[in-house]
Symmetry: C2
Subunit: 410 residues, 2 copies
Amino acid sequence: MTAPLHEAHPAGPGRALPDTQQGMRRRNLARVMHTVSAEGPLSRAAVASRIGLTRAAVSTLVDELIRSGLLEELGPERPGRVGRPGSALAVSGRGPAGIGAEIGVDHLAACAVDLRGEIRARAVRHGVNRGRSPEPVLAELTALVRQVVAEADAEGLWPAGLAVAVPGLVARDGRTVVRAPNLDWHDIDLGALLPAELPPTVDNEANFGGLAELWLGETTPRDFLHVSAEIGIGAAVVVDGRLLRGTRGFAGELGHVPVRPDGPECACGGRGCLEQYAGEEAVLRAAGIEPGVDRVGLLATRAADGDEAVRRALHDAGTAFGIALTGAVNLLDPQLVVLGGALSGLAPWLLPSLEAELARRTAGPACPVSVSRLGPEGPLLGAAHSVVRAVLDDPAAVAERAGDIVAEQA
Amino acid sequence: MTAPLHEAHPAGPGRALPDTQQGMRRRNLARVMHTVSAEGPLSRAAVASRIGLTRAAVSTLVDELIRSGLLEELGPERPGRVGRPGSALAVSGRGPAGIGAEIGVDHLAACAVDLRGEIRARAVRHGVNRGRSPEPVLAELTALVRQVVAEADAEGLWPAGLAVAVPGLVARDGRTVVRAPNLDWHDIDLGALLPAELPPTVDNEANFGGLAELWLGETTPRDFLHVSAEIGIGAAVVVDGRLLRGTRGFAGELGHVPVRPDGPECACGGRGCLEQYAGEEAVLRAAGIEPGVDRVGLLATRAADGDEAVRRALHDAGTAFGIALTGAVNLLDPQLVVLGGALSGLAPWLLPSLEAELARRTAGPACPVSVSRLGPEGPLLGAAHSVVRAVLDDPAAVAERAGDIVAEQA
DNA sequence: CTAATTTGTAAACCGCCATGACGAAATAGT
DNA sequence: ACTATTTCGTCATGGCGGTTTACAAATTAG
């Protein structure tokens, strides 16, 4: 599996894959799953009218999905409408689960999400990972993953895949961490260090955060820019509901967009990159936060307390964000910019100057900016959900494995 | 027809369209057309092996396409290989044609391109359009289009659609020009002013230029940024072989990416936008080119002659491009940046500083920059080809109309 | 209690591609 | 020269998948 899971079926005029009846069946199975997943309990007739197939066709599709354990029959609906009530169908709460994991600078986490999107198991382990070598960290993470898988198993769930969010650049192979500055990792093949029993997918935490916003955000459109600043400043570019990865997988490096071309030097080789003004280090220094633990938390506290130096630092960071985002908005014309991750907590003090700068530099109405409500768990949830989406995108692929599982249990 | 023609069949997991056998047939017809179009004369067996269907299936598809006049049988191949030689199939040089048109600041143009990609008719009319009202300009353009259509008709071609490239922002409806600063047009519905007998599609000239690069460029990848500077500085963002349009259709506005946040004021409301350093006006002023006709031509001549002021102006413009492109490359991670339009002629003097700036600001290998070979006709060709692509993308839709045409002729 | 409406399913049907067999047309080997 | 081999295009058959049509079941409206 070289391509990320949730792009298992990249459709488009470009592909030269054959179009056979089996493919049609698979796509229609996926369509049923997506419809039921997105619009809650639904009768066969309701599904049929939404996806444009006949009731009879949907019946056979649903039968197959129920046999595979991906859908469940909840029983007759209780309608006030005339006519025979339908039998409500819902995505199964047992069967395949998506396993998400996250490698943070100071924590590790894993969780299991069922097809309904419910978190069914989770495990967190705090501890500084900065500077540790990959092997012990991955060993700890593997233990967490196994723990979560075991918990999920106890609830009748089996792992359909594992997705890992890391704070760094990940190659398009979905397993190699090219550069994770805050861990000091370079060119590490995580695929080889993760539990062999699960097909793992690795991606940037900003990307998974953006996907979480796309899939779980309440009013998130299909075209937006999700900005997060856990470590470096990263952005997820979502276009038409798809994540833009770039040729090498490095798209979204907002942190190194030039803000002042003659500004301070940056580790990337450039000068005046956004990170020099709005990166964690830069802001903490400008705010006069002394070294210690949870400096970002302290930053938020002091900002809330009205500390002038802190407020000014955040104001200036917001201005820098505004300049960099002006460029991004001009290039991409997104429907929305979402501030996620650590930024969401600092938004009250960042937003005013950010929005002012963006508005000033935009002809006509400026791109709206909102704040994510997913909190710090966005990347972890996005990772787990990416596996769930892969199942919804191609239920037939999973159904085979599900059959094996059922056979084993019998 | 609200969506641009060449996106007639937007496929993807997001769509909720039914997947029936008719749709399958249509997609397979499209696959045959694309394969034959892209890889020259091909036997049925060769097509079958490329698209993964059986020879029998391809036979029936090809029969249908030949009956519709979209494919032609060239006769037996002359191979040195063993076995019965195949019968070469080629895209028809008669039948549907794409009509492209361009509204430039000082010219109008139209052309007809057949399914093979050959230009079969063209018409140009010089004359300054800046400041003229849309109606007379569109009337002239309509005359050019009718002339081209008549020429094409004489060669057995009928117009399958009309695409118009304009130097300005176009709404996503594909007909409204929101803002064309160099024409001084605002919120003009070109759809209402164009020949009613043809379904027109309007788009930004930078976008069509980028699509021309994608479809006609010799080594153009599927992920690139095409920069053109006919009037303002525009870019076409191509991701995975698809043009990124943005929510409102305004994506690619590279000219208003901030280069120096405190630089000179720009008409867009911002300061220090790329256009203030690399826009036509700015460069001409810095180069000391006096008012007159064909100032860009003069610029190139003097640069070639070694004029120091001109060279310095272009060097500085290249630096500004480098800064703006650094941001774009960090955000999009394209495989290539292509300089097109007027920029290609000035590339010798822009490239060195541009590439130096880009390389300096990039960690690791910098994104390669190349120069388009399409010359100033890129947008016009891209427009005409967008209609051709629409035919290749859904031959069944055109086959119906083709049937009508044949019936009329009989 | 009947009529109307809607749901889910079964049987017959049609369209599309796969399979397998065949003649046609070339090359390779004797 | 003649045969064997290979490849091409086509035809008949079959399987698969969604549609159409019909019908029983389950509800509401009158």
